[in-house]
Symmetry: C2
């Protein structure tokens, strides 16, 4: 596996990889890789001739009070994991490679970026949209892979790619969960043993809402109430949101149709998110 | 010359044109073509194997009080002009081809977009940045050509392409002027005979400032004052701005260095712009 750190080497790699009809698959990450990320790489390898993962902890998507400096950086472990599943290349840029000094440009997706996680993390999705645009322009992949776990992020990137006519296929890859249902996340490692136990309530809350929905409950507020109850009962008190939205547009619905439930909550000091399409 | 109206035909044309090392040159326009636009096509044809012009009067870059509905649409004449200079293709999309319903994404370049023309045309440069991004993503040219006459627009697009790492070379092409110095513009046709005469004052004002600068005047305010005087004397009273800025960044300077002078003024009801690099 080749490790690429600068634009020129990346460009040569991309040129070569696209030659003779080669298909490039791209997985942008912030590192601290886990099975969820590896599932993205495996999905890419199914149809692409070359697969490249980027590892870049993007400063512009963290708020001033957030965990940018504490975010786990585990490159040697990440590299070993990627080698093991025969990933072809890893792009490991410094902040200056992504953001040369004097930058003024950003990409905004409104109103999608201001809701849900965007409401409590102002600027987050503008940071995401901008860095993904830059990375896609640098890597020029045929397909880019994102985890369904970051549901709003995936929806936003699909919207952006469509609106700006970017020549890339955006592929969402299902959530990978622990045995007890907790969705894999690089932030799970922040959890204490007790919090780790509490955190399973997110999945249980989603399952409860799904079960209610399948039994005919169509009122968003009822589904949300049932999910909140389970979170509270497990001792999770700092709920950011529990919302049922339209699966494709994330539009609010009183009476739900093709719904996804999205949850964000703090377990101890760690903010976790999870979601479930209720009809599946 | 092929006329392309939809994304699929454009895509085929682009694929074919890029084959075997072909180099695509792109000139985005709003039509109402004049010698200034044709100079862009000629410049592209010098180094590109295929040259494509887009004609799209972009609604999002016009303010509610501006001349979107009145903007001249002269496609048959435009086509003849492009045929004559052997342009290879013209892309003539409907608004729906550029902006499919439900769009939420825009590209912003701040603070560059809020100054000069941006101050009196809020949203204008956001519309420009967004439509140019979409067009570049659709056409995927090797080089894109813009007139120096829209100096702030050219600067903004260079900034955006750099910041978002777009894989395109941005080429600025010098202003084409009438015999008496008036910069060619699609809006010149709005001028009455008397206004047409007055309009030459923009060029004269720039020349006066340039002459002062070459004689050693380095105070921006003195250069601007001299230019304003010439505009007033010709009867132009609605001056939007007369500003000396840094040639590359458009930063303000008390004592000028590598300066460009930019003018925007209304002659009658028609808003005209012009500029000159003072050291040339």
């Amino acid at each position: 596996m080749i490790v690429i750190e600068d634009r020129q080497s990346l460009d040569s790699w991309v040129e070569q990889s696209r030659m003779w009809g080669g298909k490039v698959g791209f997985i942008p990450t912030m590192g601290a890789l886990h099975e969820g990320h590896l599932a993205l790489v495996r999905e890419a390898k199914k149809t692409c001739t070359q697969t490249i993962v980027s590892i870049f902890v993007n400063p512009t998507q963290f708020g001033p009070e957030e965990d940018f400096s504490q975010y786990p950086r585990t490159f040697e472990k990440d590299r070993a994991l990627l080698e093991e599943i025969a990933c072809d290349a890893v792009f490991l840029p410094s902040p200056e490679v992504i953001y040369p000094p004097g930058g003024q440009t950003y990409v905004a997706v409104e109103p999608l970026a201001s809701q849900l996680c965007g409401a409590s993390r102002p600027g987050h999705f503008q940071g995401v949209a901008t860095v993904v645009t830059i990375l896609l322009n640098l890597v020029r992949p045929h397909a880019a892979y994102f985890g369904v776990k970051d549901y709003q992020q995936l929806t936003l990137i699909k919207q952006m790619v469509r609106d700006l006519a970017m020549a890339v296929e955006v592929v969402g890859v299902p959530i990978v969960r622990e045995e007890d249902g907790l969705a894999l996340s690089s932030r799970n490692r922040y959890l204490t043993a007790k919090e780790r136990q509490q955190a399973t309530a997110l999945y249980k809350a989603l399952l409860a809402a799904q079960s209610l929905f399948k039994n005919g409950e169509l009122k968003a507020i009822k589904l949300e109430k049932a999910a909140r109850k389970i979170l509270y009962e497990s001792g999770i008190e700092q709920i950011d949101y529990v919302e049922v939205r339209h699966r494709k547009t994330l539009a609010c619905q009183l009476s739900v149709e093709d719904p996804v439930m999205l949850i964000a909550a703090k377990v101890g000091k760690t903010r976790l998110i999870d979601n479930m399409v209720l009809s599946t």
